[in-house]
């Protein structure tokens, strides 16, 4: 279950890349270069990276509206991602999807989703299809604490459980469904306790500890691949930024946000790798700088890319 030093360096690189991408996204929005809204996962990088580290490259994910991290961790091309973000023809979805709909089926990302819990029912079908075709892959379905209160959650976990489908459900509990605190939205302490209702394992982990996330999800992935059925993993984390660009944080305190910033998943993992002798400070800085440089290059690519042609506006509705 332990990862090689090389792999751990890669994970740190992914975390920095996500942070760099989202900081840049925010900056581009402020500059008026991006149309629409976005949902940032700054502060939640360990959840995306640790979860996806437990997958094989050919495994699949379903992501959420807060999905930049999942996409990057699954191996997306930053250029195509940034181009999509900027609505360009060279983007993953030819500028038709934007931040909330980035999909990269080649890397196993079956798509972000603009609807809370929108991907959860789809996970059943993907799991069923994989099982029927006797494919040795699993589907990891991300969703947030808010999605755990929809009917889709109940239907999907039950169906995956009764059919022992190769699905891993990863609930990224970032404490708020838009403005509603988990304390007000749940009468239970741990969302993972709901797993018991479906007869499947449920586990809650420190979602800001990338290795803890990796280990919990790996166990769930191994179980799913061996035919043992689904698991519900809850990564307890926190989003530093607002729900979307319209959020002015009326529902939480500055102190709370600052307290969580002290639990930064990237700083924590970096310090651990240095402590383990896997990295020096200089090497860690270089990984960080390379991540920011890669994002800058992606912005240059996106800015130089063409807008979609109006002639193509009706393309892609039907196969």
């Amino acid at each position: 279950m332990t990862l090689s030093p090389e792999r751990k360096r890669e994970l740190l690189c992914q975390m920095y890349t996500i942070r760099a991408f989202e900081e840049k996204a925010e900056e581009l929005y402020a500059m008026g270069k991006v149309h629409g809204t976005m949902h940032l996962s700054i502060g939640m990088e360990a959840s995306a990276v640790g979860s996806i580290a437990a997958l094989r490259p050919d495994d699949l994910i379903l992501s959420t509206h807060r999905g930049h991290g999942h996409c990057i961790a699954k191996g997306a091309d930053l250029n195509k991602m940034m181009a999509e973000f900027m609505g360009k023809e060279t983007g993953y979805c030819r500028g038709r999807g934007g931040s909330m709909h980035i999909a990269d089926v080649e890397s196993g990302n079956l798509g972000a989703n603009g609807v809370v819990a929108g991907g959860i029912p789809i996970a059943v079908g993907v799991g069923l299809g994989l099982k029927m075709q006797k494919r040795d892959q699993i589907i990891l379905c991300f969703f947030g604490d808010g999605a755990a209160n929809t009917g889709a959650f109940h239907e999907s976990l039950n169906m995956a459980a009764i059919w022992s489908l190769p699905v891993v459900y990863v609930c990224e509990n970032n404490q708020y469904a838009m403005s509603l605190s988990v304390r007000k939205a749940f009468a239970i302490e741990r969302i993972s306790d709901r797993a018991a209702a479906y007869g499947i394992p449920g586990v809650t982990v420190d979602g800001n500890d990338v290795m803890a996330v990796y280990e919990a999800v790996k166990k769930a992935v191994d179980r799913a691949r061996a035919g043992g059925g689904p698991t519900l993993v809850e990564n307890v984390t926190y989003r530093w930024r607002g729900h979307s660009k319209s959020d002015v944080n009326r529902y939480r305190t500055r102190e709370e946000i600052e307290a969580w910033k002290k639990k930064c998943p990237i700083k924590r993992f970096r310090a651990r790798l240095i402590e383990e002798g896997i990295l020096t400070e200089e090497e860690a800085d270089r990984i960080r700088d390379e991540a920011y440089a890669a994002v800058d290059a992606a912005v240059a690519f996106a800015e130089a890319s063409p807008e979609p042609s109006l002639d193509t506006i009706e393309e892609g509705v039907y196969a």
């Binding site: 999909a103 989703n113 929108g118 059943v124 079908g125 994989l130 029927m132 009917g151 892609g316 196969a319």
Partner: protein, 328 residues
Amino acid sequence: MRELSYAEAIREALRQEMQRDERVFIIGEDVGVYGGAFGVTLGLIEEFGEERVIDTPISELTIAGAITGAALVGMRPVGEIMFMDFITLASEQLVNQAAKIRFMFGGKEKVPFVLRTPAGSGTGAAAQHSQSLENWFVHIPGLKVVMPSTPYDAKGLLIASIRDDNPVIFVEHKLLYKVKGPVPEEPYTIPLGTAEVKREGRDLTIIATSIMVQRALQAAEQLAEEGIEVEVVDPRTLKPLDKETIIRSVIKTGRVLIVHEACKTGGFGGELAAVIAESEAFDYLDAPIVRLAGRDIPIPYNRTLEYHAVPQVENIVEAARRLAEGRV
């Protein structure tokens, strides 16, 4: 030619496609040993096993999600929603997910599934088991909507729908399940987007969907005895719509009566009327376009009230006669 009922024709289409393509499977509530609420899938679980005829819990949203997800990874699922009324529970997945995945993802993915569902009144099942909600889905880019009116069309359109690479909402009518008609034994397809002139006539055109095609044909028989020759056009697929066949018929007759069971306001008849009014057929119209549709009420339980909630043969006869006689 051999005769089959509408339900048998659908079952034969399912069986033949499942024999031909192992990616095709059935999923829905009570579709297994029960055979579905109307017996359409009866016997298929014995032939194909519970791996390919899958009974689900009562979870319509996730039935729609399951066919979407399975289609995304290469299967060709045929889902069933027991009554079209319950498609309300599945709508998020159909409207926001399945219909839009291809477009949102830049035209790269495809979602080839069929969702079968029985619609319509006449069974005394009242307001929550009798609706005709097809036009909601006609309104959604990315979905196709098919409504067969005969056993022959049901088989050919279902096979075409299963082989289509898009999400198809396949709307059956409960009162048609026992209606018999000629159906070839071998598999065949009717291309989606091809209307059919079910009866030729010179005096007026009736455009009807689903069970209203059968009622329009009966009305046409009666009107023929009065010397009124009615042409009956069945679009068969509401989306894509074969506008050409419709327009050609209206140009020929100059009078058009649109008949469907769904509530008039916001129903597909409005779209048909607009298609005609926007086309070259407008200049050939000798009378206003007339719509005969379900009343704008929920379907009532009482037998008499239920009967009068939607167009019946005599209503079609009367409306067509008025139109043919220039009384509109």
